[in-house]
C-alpha cells in the first residue's frame, strides 16, 4: 500500500455547502445497562450528512459504528438502552420520539441495508410481498399497485425477469441477488437517507463492485444521503466523500476522504492502513498489525481508548495518553479532526509509518 506523500487533499464535499445537512447527530451517547455493568457503546458522537453526500464510518467490531446508526432509526429498545444527545433527521428529533413518529420515518425517509441479507429477509414471505409491504405501510395503495412497484424496484436493482422472480422466496436467490432485493426494499419509498451497514462484506469482489455501482447510481438518481458503514478502507476510498473513523465508541478521526486516507493523523488510522495488504503493494512490505485487542466498553481506559495498543504513545510527554482523553480537535486543516495527543503526527507518520507501508516511497530505507 503506498500513500502519496505529496498531495494536498482536495475536498470533494464542498458542492452542497449552502444546503442544510439532512442528518445531524449531535453528542450522541448510547449506553446499555447489563449484569456486568454499563456498556458505553457510543460516547459523545457528532456528525452530519447532506443529501447527495456519502459518509463512510470505519472501525472494528465493537467500535460502536452499527449501534450509532441503529440509533438513527430508533431501533434500540428504550427500556434497555440509555440514549443521550440529539439526532435530527430532516429537522425531526429522533431521540425520545414516540413510536408513531419513528414508524413514519423508518423505511420512508430513512432506510437501512443490513449486512446479512439472509437473516434480514423473512424466509416465510416471498421477496415481492416483503417489498410491497414496505411500500403499503407508507402509501395508500392497493395490493396490486404495490406489487407493480415491487417489480419495478426489482428491475431497477438489476434482478433479471423481475415479474417472475417477485414471487420467489429469499432462499431461491443467490447472495448478490438477495443483497439487491434488500436494496430494492430499502429504496421502495425513495428514502432521503440510506444507512448501509456493511452492505458488501459478505459478498465476492465482483458482486461487491456491482452493488457499489448500484448504490452510486441510485444516489445520483434520488439525491439521497448515504451513511456507509464498513471496515474496508478500499470501499471508503472509492465511494465516500467524508470519513469518520471510530474506536472504542468515539470518533477518533474525521474529515474528507482524500484528506484522511492520504494524510491520516491518528495512530489507529495508520494501523488500519498498514495492517491490510493490497493487490498492488510491494510484496516485500510487511504487514504491521495493531497489537492487542480492542478495549472493553464496560470499563474504557480513562485516557485515550487506543493508548494500550498505540505504539507511538511514547512520543507524547508524560502519561498524558493514559490519563487524559484527547479532544477531537482540528489538525492540519480546520475540517480534518483527530483525537490524539501526538504533537507532530505528520513527522511521525513520515518517519515511521510511510517507510513501513510503502518502502519505495520512504527516504529512510
Amino acid at each position: 500500500m503506498s500513500i502519496p506523500t505529496t498531495s494536498t487533499g482536495v475536498s470533494s464535499s464542498n458542492d452542497g455547502d449552502q444546503q442544510e445537512p439532512f442528518l445531524v447527530v449531535d453528542g450522541l451517547t448510547v449506553r446499555f445497562p447489563t449484569h456486568d455493568g454499563l456498556v458505553q457503546a457510543v460516547t459523545d458522537l457528532s456528525y452530519s450528512v447532506r443529501r447527495g453526500e456519502t459518509l463512510g464510518i470505519v472501525g472494528e467490531s465493537g467500535s460502536g459504528k452499527s449501534v450509532s446508526s441503529m440509533a438513527v432509526l430508533g431501533l434500540h429498545n428504550p427500556r434497555q438502552t440509555r440514549l443521550n444527545g440529539s439526532i435530527t433527521v430532516g429537522g425531526v428529533e429522533v431521540v425520545g420520539a414516540s413510536q408513531h413518529t419513528l414508524r413514519s420515518i423508518r423505511g420512508n425517509d430513512v432506510a437501512m441495508i443490513f449486512q446479512d441479507p439472509l437473516t434480514a429477509l423473512h424466509p416465510f414471505y416471498s421477496i415481492g410481498s416483503q417489498i410491497a409491504e414496505a411500500y403499503r405501510v407508507h402509501h395508500d395503495v392497493s395490493k396490486k399497485q404495490a406489487r407493480e412497484r415491487a417489480i419495478e424496484m426489482l428491475a431497477r436493482v438489476g434482478i433479471p425477469q423481475p415479474s417472475r422472480r417477485v414471487d420467489d422466496y429469499p432462499h431461491q436467490f443467490s447472495g448478490g441477488m438477495r443483497q439487491r432485493a434488500m436494496i430494492a426494499m430499502a429504496l421502495v419509498n425513495d428514502p432521503k437517507l440510506l444507512i448501509a451497514d456493511e452492505p458488501t462484506t459478505a459478498l465476492d469482489v465482483t458482486v461487491q463492485a456491482q452493488i457499489l455501482d448500484l448504490l452510486q447510481d441510485l444516489q445520483r438518481e434520488y439525491n439521497s444521503a448515504i451513511v456507509m458503514i464498513t471496515h474496508d478502507l478500499g470501499v471508503i476510498a472509492e465511494i465516500a466523500d467524508e470519513v469518520l473513523v471510530m474506536y472504542g465508541g468515539r470518533a477518533v478521526e474525521k474529515g474528507s476522504t482524500s484528506e484522511v486516507l492520504t494524510h491520516p493523523e491518528m495512530p489507529y488510522t495508520w494501523g488500519l492502513l498498514s495492517s491490510v495488504p493490497d493487490v498492488t503493494a510491494d510484496t516485500t512490505t510487511r504487514l504491521l498489525p495493531i497489537p492487542g485487542t480492542p478495549p472493553s466498553l464496560l470499563s474504557p481506559p480513562p485516557g485515550c481508548a487506543f493508548e494500550p495498543r498505540c505504539i507511538h504513545a511514547t512520543a507524547v510527554p508524560g502519561d498524558l495518553c493514559a490519563t487524559t482523553l484527547p479532544l477531537l480537535a482540528p489538525g492540519r486543516s480546520a475540517h480534518h479532526l483527530k483525537r490524539c495527543h501526538l504533537p507532530d503526527p505528520d513527522a511521525i507518520y513520515e518517519q515511521f509509518v510511510i517507510p513501513e507501508v510503502a518502502p519505495e516511497a520512504g527516504e529512510t530505507r
Binding site: M1, S2, I3, P4, S7, G9, V10, S12, E60, S61, P160, S174, G176, M177, D204, V205, T206, V207, Q208, A209, Q210, L212, D213, Q216, H231, D232, L233, G234, I236, A237, E238, I239, T257, S258, V260, L261, T262, G271, L272, L273, S275, V276, P277, D278, V279, T280, A281, T283, T284, R286, L287, L288, P289, I290, P291, T293, P294, I311, H312, R365
Partner: protein, 430 residues
Amino acid sequence: MSEVTHGLPDGAAEIELGDGLIDELADEAELLDADSSVLKPHAPTELDPSRPAILEADGLRMYFPVKSSGILRRTVAHVQAVDGVSFQVPAGGSLGLVGESGCGKSTTGRLITRLEKPTSGAIRFEGEDLAKLSKREMKPVRREVQMIFQDPYSSLNPRHTVGTIVGTPLQVHDVVPKKQVLSRVQELLEVVGLNPEHYNRYPNEFSGGQRQRIGIARALALQPKLLVADEPVSALDVSIQAQVINLLQDIQREFDVAFLFIAHDLAVVRHFCPEIAVMYLGKIVEIGDRESIYSAPRHPYTQALLSAVPDVRQASTGGRRERIRLEGDVPSPIDPPSGCRFRTRCPIAQEICAKHEPPLLQIGRRHKVACHFPGRLGQAPTEPLTARLLGVDAHGNPDAGASPSAEILEQRPGYADTWFDLDNKTFARA
C-alpha cells in the same frame, strides 16, 4: 518495542521452553529493538522452484449427487463442485486458491485433507496417493496434513477446554506420553502467542483472533508438513487479520510447513502466497507465480477479479476505479455451460468458446492459462490461439489440416520446460 508485532506476550524470553521458536522470536525482538532495518520477520515467502512438490493434485474431481424427491431418491444430476483440478504445492511453500464463492476452492481443500473422498483423480502426498486410502490407512497421514478452518466460533467445541482441544490430537496419535501432554499444549499455546496459563479456559472466554490462534495451535500439534488453511482470516477484524497472517508466516518459516491457502481476498493471498491458482466453477482458469497472476494476468476472469478490488489509493483522486464489468451470476455447477465455463460472462467470448473447452496451456515458465484468447488486458488476440493445438479452425469446427498436439494438451500438475510464448506465438524453452 515498536517493531515487535508477532503477538507474543511480553516476557516470552523468560519462559524456559524446549522449543526453539520462542527463544528465536524473542532474540529477533531484541535485535529489532536495536536496529529495525536489519531483520524482516514477516517478509512474505518467496518462491523456491528447486524444492520438490510435497503435494500433487492430479485431475481431481468431486461430483456431489443430486437426489430426486420421493422414496427412491434416485440420483438425477451431479453438482460438479471440482472438475479436473491439477496443481502442485512445493515443500515449505504455499499455493493460494482464489475464486468467488461456489467455485470449488473449499471443496478442493476438503479433498486434500480427505474430509471428502474424491470422485476421481489422485492426491499424491510425498508420493503416496491419498485418494485411494481407506479411513484407517488415512490415520497416519493425518499427522502430516492438518487443516485450519474459517470460522473460529464454530470450529472449536464450546464444551471443551483449550487444553483438551489442543491436546486431543496428541492423545489420538499417541505422540507424547500422557504426562507430557499438558506441557506440550502449553508450549503450543506459547508458539501461537497465547498465555500458556489459559489452557483451562473455554473457547467462549477468548476473542475471535485468539480463537483462531487456538485453531492454529491444534493444527500444529502434530507438526504437520502441510496445512490447508480455508479462509483463515476472513472472519476476523482487519487489525487482527494481520496478526494472524504474520503468525502463519512465522510458523511457515520456523517449521517449514507447506500451505494450501484458500481465500477470496485477493490482496491477502497475494501477500501470503508466491504461487496462486484462480478457480472458476470447479476448474482452474489460471495458475502461476505471483508476478504473472497479479501483474500480467491473461485470463479475462482473473483480469475482471483484479479490477474489481477496491483500492485505498483511490482516495487521492476520488471516484471509482476503472473496472471490467461482469454481467450476471455464476452459472449453476449442476449444468455448467458447454466449452469454456466462463463464456457466459466473458467479454471476449466467441463461437469456439461454446464448442471446445480451452486447455490449461502453459504460457510462461510458471504460468498456465485456460483461455482460447489469452492476452493482456484490452489486447486479446482476435484469432483463437488454441485452435491449431485442438485440431479445429477458428470457429471451433474440425479442421482436417491441423493436427492436435497431444503433448501440449496433456493436463499435468506442475510446469514443463517448454511453453507456448504468447507474444511470439512460438514454443519457448527454459
